[in-house]
């Protein structure tokens, strides 16, 4: 589904990603872990098409297409979804209007008919239950006045409505208490299907107790330095990122 080859990217002249290689297949959940500043959010942003990042080398194929050549809206229409680390407040635009515009833009791209008001409402009511969101959130401006946890739940709610092929959750666990974390994780797990995939970007292992990954990657200084099964997350939690850093340094010296 997603193939990243030797991806290099810069932000304001600083090279943040220094050769990422990653393959994600349909049906898989990948976790990308790493210390602050390792490039986790940059990777998520580059995949979603954030303008501040410039790709200097490498390639990304998504469902056989050149992802980096696409505008952000086309990436979304092709089935990519980024759950923002800091969901953006949009005063004056109500949540359900936004979702409807978004869903219909995606459906149109896929050659489906736009949903009418009744079908749309039926769909979103059903999906709200996944993240236990109150209906009052539909008519409120997008994220405005939402608590940190409500914003994150709203992201997963959007994801549930848009049904992406590949979802990237960027630090969705940050700022969540344990109850909200469980709700968000349950939502993500319910949406798992053999034909979609998820990349969970996180600093802490905690979320991975609830969203169990097939593969865990450790990102340090813009490179994936270690990949393994779900037990790698636990090992990291126990031994800290310095352990991988040291290992990495040793490996580099040895190599």
């Amino acid at each position: 589904m997603l193939t990243i080859r030797d991806l290099h990217a810069r932000v304001e002249g600083n090279e943040i990603l220094r050769g990422i290689n990653l393959t994600v297949n349909a049906g898989e959940v990948h976790a990308i872990m790493g210390p602050n500043g390792s490039g986790k959010s940059t990777l998520a942003g580059v995949l979603a098409g954030r303008a501040a990042y410039s790709v200097t080398a490498g390639s990304v194929r998504f469902e056989g297409k050149d992802l980096l050549a696409m505008e952000p809206e086309d990436r979304a229409r092709e089935g990519l979804f980024l759950a923002f680390q800091y969901p953006v407040e949009i005063p004056g635009v109500n949540n359900s209007y936004f979702l409807k515009s978004s869903l219909n833009a995606i459906r149109k791209h896929r050659g489906l008919e736009e949903l009418d008001a009744v079908d749309f409402l039926t769909l979103i009511r059903q999906r709200m239950k996944l993240v236990e969101m109150d209906e009052s959130f539909l008519n409120r401006p997008v994220n405005e006045g939402f608590s940190g946890g409500e914003k994150k739940r709203n992201e997963i709610f959007h994801m549930a409505v848009l049904e992406p092929r590949l979802a990237i959750l960027d630090e969705t666990d940050s700022g969540l208490d344990i109850d909200a974390l469980k709700i968000v994780a349950d939502g993500v797990n319910t949406l798992r299907r053999p034909d979609n995939a998820t990349i969970v970007v996180t600093h802490y292992q905690r979320l991975l107790n609830y969203i169990v990954p097939d593969v865990v990657h450790v990102l340090v200084d813009g490179r994936i330095v270690k990949s393994g099964g779900k037990e790698l997350a636990l090992e990291l939690e126990e031994r800290g990122y310095d352990w991988v850093r040291e290992n990495n340094a040793r490996a580099t010296v040895a190599g």
Binding site: G49, F81, F84, S102, A105, H158, L162
Partner: protein
């Protein structure tokens, strides 16, 4: 008065002479004495120039250099009636003027409740001269500036609305001024009088619409006075032709425990200058002024507001927003006076501008003059562009960039639009605003491609 204006002053004096002749017997009336004062004041003042502080940012040379012909009775209204009917609000009383002349065929006033008078000013003057004459010029000084003076000189027609004490008028009163002047630059000068009795409650929609793209000048004066505990919701929509000029002056006099709300949306006109003055002349008054300016191309839209807190314990809230695209120019000037007497005043003014292009310009000037010491007065002005992070957020959910910009621009205006009292006005404006924004974008696009 600058000497280069002399030919234009003479032009309007000549027009006044012709107007006088057409009046026949009306020349000796009391109202005509007022008109004569008007033309004299106009000749003495001359049109304002950018050298005057009040007009510093607003160059009205195209207005002062055009010889506008005062509008006369138009014979055939049938062409414009088809354009007017879709503009009439469902469930409202309709008082319609075409080129300043009362248009009975598209007005609907039959069945007005007793105690509610809605009519053409000329008709009201004929029927109740003694009641109405003192109201003319009671709130607006005819020598305030050249425009109010000129309006007074040709004073003849406009909207007259009077609501008796205690009357609650359920249906909104829509006053629609349609302009259609294919025959050359026309001068349209409505004079509107609104009198709300004590404890009266009513809603007015005041609307200026150009039904064809021709140059003309609307120069309107509106005088409103409200009695104690009256409540007036006043929606105002300015959609003049983009070839036209629009100047209006609204003066509002408020008494004890009144509630007055004006929500003004200004979209039209090559140059449009709107002046609002409110006097809070007793205690317990709440005055709210909302405004939205939406300018594209080379439009110049100007809003001057003044809120005069003359007495204690009153509140005023003001929210004005501008969206400027192309090479348009917006002007906001918000005066708030708090007199020495006006303790416990609570005044809040907010002015926000969204610039959609690098060539658009806003001049914004809050002007607070406070002479009382126990008051709460705040003001804030912001000028900004669309937020890149918001645009990216929308795009990352599949929304095209142009649509994202459109959604966010409309969202910027939405709180002012949300304050429009009459739902029918709101729902009609929504597509009009969207169309204006996307039209601006298309034009901008064409311009870029040409160059």
């Amino acid at each position: 008065m600058p000497s280069e204006q002399q030919p234009m002053i003479t032009w309007y004096e000549e027009q006044f002479g012709a107007f006088e002749k057409s009046l026949n017997g009306g020349r000796t009336s009391e109202i005509h004495a007022l008109r004569r004062k008007g033309i004299a004041a106009f000749a003495a003042l001359g049109f304002p120039t950018p050298r005057q502080e009040e007009w510093r940012f607003t160059n009205i040379a195209p207005i002062t250099k055009t010889a506008f012909q005062p509008s006369r009775q138009s014979a055939d209204l049938s062409i414009v009636e088809d354009r007017i009917r879709p503009l009439l609000l469902a469930g409202a009383w309709h008082l319609v003027f075409v080129n300043g002349q009362f248009a009975p065929s598209v007005s609907h006033l039959a069945g007005l409740p007793a105690g509610v008078m809605v009519s053409a000013l000329s008709e009201a003057l004929q029927k109740h001269p003694n009641e109405i004459l003192p109201a003319l010029g009671a709130v607006v000084r005819s020598d305030e500036n050249a425009f109010t003076a000129l309006n007074t000189a040709f004073l003849q027609e406009g909207a007259f609305i009077a609501v008796r004490d205690g009357m609650d008028v359920e249906r909104p009163i829509q006053v629609l001024f349609a302009a259609h002047s294919p025959g050359g630059p026309t001068l349209i000068q409505p004079r509107n009088i609104v009198i709300g009795g004590a404890r009266s409650r009513f809603t007015i929609v005041e609307q200026y619409v150009g039904v064809s793209e021709h140059p003309y000048l609307t120069n309107a004066v509106t005088e409103i006075s409200l009695g104690a505990r009256a409540v007036l919701e006043h929606d105002r929509v300015q959609e003049e032709s983009l070839e036209a000029y629009h100047v209006d002056s609204l003066q509002v006099h408020l008494r004890r425990d009144c509630r007055y709300t004006s929500t003004a949306v200004s979209l039209g006109g090559a140059i449009a200058r709107s002046t609002i003055g409110t006097v809070l002349d007793d205690e317990g008054i709440e005055c709210t002024l909302n405004g939205l300016l939406l300018a594209t191309g080379t439009q110049l839209l100007d809003s001057h507001t003044a809120i005069d807190h003359a007495r204690p314990n009153c509140a005023s809230h003001e929210l004005y927003k501008s969206i400027l695209d192309g090479q348009s120019h917006g002007v906001f000037n918000g005066k708030i006076f708090v007199r020495k007497d006006a303790q416990k005043t609570d005044a809040k003014q907010t002015n926000k501008t969204l610039l959609l292009s690098d060539d658009a310009v806003i001049d914004t000037k809050p002007q607070l003059e406070i002479f009382a010491d126990d008051v709460k007065c705040t003001h804030g002005a912001t000028v900004g562009q669309l937020d890149d992070e918001q645009i990216f957020y929308l795009r990352s959910r599949g929304i095209a960039e142009a649509d994202a910009r459109d959604i966010l621009t409309y969202a910027f205006a939405s709180d002012v639009i949300g304050r429009i009292a009459v739902e029918g006005v709101r729902t009609r404006l929504e597509p009009v605003i969207h169309a204006r924004l996307s039209r601006a974008r298309t034009t901008e696009h064409a311009r870029v491609h040409q160059s």
